[in-house]
Symmetry: C2
């Protein structure tokens, strides 16, 4: 470590390239973080799929994103080979940042270079509780406080919110005339609730969502008929990044009526970046992302949601954009992780200086 710059190993998932071609939330976050850390002067080594694009030093751990490779039956084999390479080189890094969940834990525990793991997914299966407990000394970063609920008693050292490339989202100062549901058709995302809200308020609803194989039945039996039965509802299927930006920016409000503890709802941030307020159920990370009454509305009931639609006019679209710039930018995320890295690399120095002097919102410190 020379000066403030650090030698950082970044362990990416291998299912998608970094950044991903289409979907792939974790790979997109890893990409934004890696590029930002490079820009901030760090030496970043990215262990990722060989078709990744990065300014960091890329160590290819498979030729192509594994999701696209139909011949691969056992993706874990690639992950273990990746971990072997990372920890073989461990001495040449100041810090190892793991985005591959618990797979890194046995090696991380034994390495002299510290590893920090960001948990990107849900933690509410019993087996996750088991494995996180088994490695309860491992330093973990959550992507929201809500995410920690199923596994509270492990070594959470910070919450660092995901950042997005704000420049990819165009700000619309004018309020649009339709409601939007975006992402994936599945029971826990509650597209049925979105449809109910639109019907009740008599406003157009655009549904831009993919239907995974596993959700095909739900779509065919629970959603398709609802869509067909009203001229207010328009189903446009899966959209690309550019179409998503335009749909979000042109909306009156973004509906996020989920029914599960989503650890970080990235599309809410994307909506706010275009200036569009969010109407969301109070669940998971929602209250940490949406400022109720300022960048949208956090609803506890169907009635709340109907009222929220009527009150959208009171929301300042500039405030939505500003909220994203302040809390969910690449630099805020990178600064948060820099503080985490420093604390692990040199605990004493860091606890006395960096974390205390870090601007509020950059890193949510649990040890204070």
């Amino acid at each position: 470590m020379k000066g403030r710059d650090m030698r950082i190993a970044m362990i990416a998932p291998l299912m998608e390239s970094v950044p991903p071609a289409l979907y792939g939330g974790t790979e997109r976050v890893v990409s934004v973080l890696s590029e930002t850390l490079v820009r901030r002067g760090h030496q970043v080594t990215l262990f990722a799929s060989g078709d990744s694009l990065t300014q960091a030093k890329l160590v290819p751990c498979c030729c192509h994103a594994l999701r696209l490779n139909t011949e691969v039956r056992d993706p874990q084999a690639f992950i273990m080979a990746q971990l072997g390479e990372v920890y073989r080189q461990a001495a040449s890094f100041d810090i190892i940042h793991n985005h591959n969940d618990y797979y890194a834990f046995p090696a991380a525990r034994m390495a002299s270079t510290p590893t920090v793991t960001t948990t990107h997914g849900r933690l509410d299966l019993p087996e996750y509780r088991r494995v996180y407990q088994a490695f309860r000394e491992q330093p973990l970063v959550s992507i929201s406080y809500a995410q920690r609920a199923p596994v509270p008693d492990v070594n959470w050292i910070a919450t660092v919110y995901n950042g997005i490339e704000i420049n990819n989202y165009h700000f619309h100062s004018e309020q649009g005339d339709y409601l939007l549901f975006l992402g994936r058709i599945s029971p826990e995302k509650r597209p049925d609730r979105a449809i109910e809200i639109a019907r009740d308020v008599g406003m157009r609803l655009i549904i831009a969502a993919k239907v995974d194989e596993v959700d095909r039945d739900y779509y065919e039996h629970a959603i398709k008929k609802q869509i067909a039965s009203s001229s207010l509802i328009e189903f446009v299927g899966e959209v690309n990044e550019k179409e998503k930006d335009a749909l979000l920016g042109g909306a009156y409000a973004y509906l996020f009526p989920i029914d599960w503890p989503e650890p970080f709802g990235l599309t809410m941030v994307e909506a706010m970046a275009t200036g569009t307020p969010v109407i969301a159920t109070s669940a998971g990370s929602v209250e940490e992302i949406v400022v109720d009454g300022v960048t949208g509305f956090v609803c506890r009931s169907f009635h709340d949601a109907i009222e929220a639609v009527e009150q959208v006019g009171s929301i300042d679209r500039h405030a939505c954009r500003a909220h994203v710039e302040t809390h969910f930018s690449p630099d805020v995320m990178a600064a948060g992780y820099e503080a985490v890295y420093r604390r692990l690399v040199d605990p004493i120095v860091v606890l006395n200086t960096d974390v205390v002097s870090a601007p509020a919102g950059q890193i949510m410190d649990d040890t204070a």
Copy 2:
């Protein structure tokens, strides 16, 4: 390590208990090995499913065999927690014997206690080649020489054949009057070939096999009609251990007409233990298990197989049993692994004494 006794950690798969209730080849081998090593005076710690039964010290790594627990969606989480526990205790073992494939490699590489891994499955997927190459220094034991073919250039240190509890198999000195196909209905096991052979020679064939969900189509479309079309063919479905013993012992010959490189055909050994000769295709480990013309016939064509059926009378059923006692007993297997362990625990002493003085057949040494 006091005297010749060793402190051995045994990492078992968690899908089945040790021993397994029904199927589970690897868990059965781990059970036989663990109990035999305990009997031979070693301190064995078995990291396995909590419903396992053993004379070793059991460290439960999940409550019940994971295959029976329909709530578990991510078995790997349990495996990583298991590995965390094994390597946390590593200093209290002389040797760690891993039966969980490549998952142990990253931790194994970093531990000061040596780990040896037995490869129990097929190695012919490209991703296996990748992960084994990535950890090419890891000491590996194959269960047949044939198994190594897809990954020849790694650290193979021995071949130790699987052993069975011979006493569980009753010897039948009299030749039976039917052919037998046993195990699982699937394209690579070639039950269709077994049926063709039986029809051609006009002998009764009993098929005692389960049909997995994944093979349901193959059974319905390729096999069911063949079974129904001939009064010679009798399908009895899945059988338990006791029924298997009786079916094997009562047979004229055991048919093993496989079409894939099976790394170790345990049922061939079980058949020979009851005295029944094996008629098998020349593939995978077959030539290492069956002594052609002595305990059965290794066939290169359909014509070979037909001729073999006619020649079964020339096989001495006692020779079949003796072959198993000499090469596939629990003690032969345990002695083979003891030699492997010693070589890793104290390489110099062992290379000069144990391996060289080990009786032929106990351990197939590659370093000589």
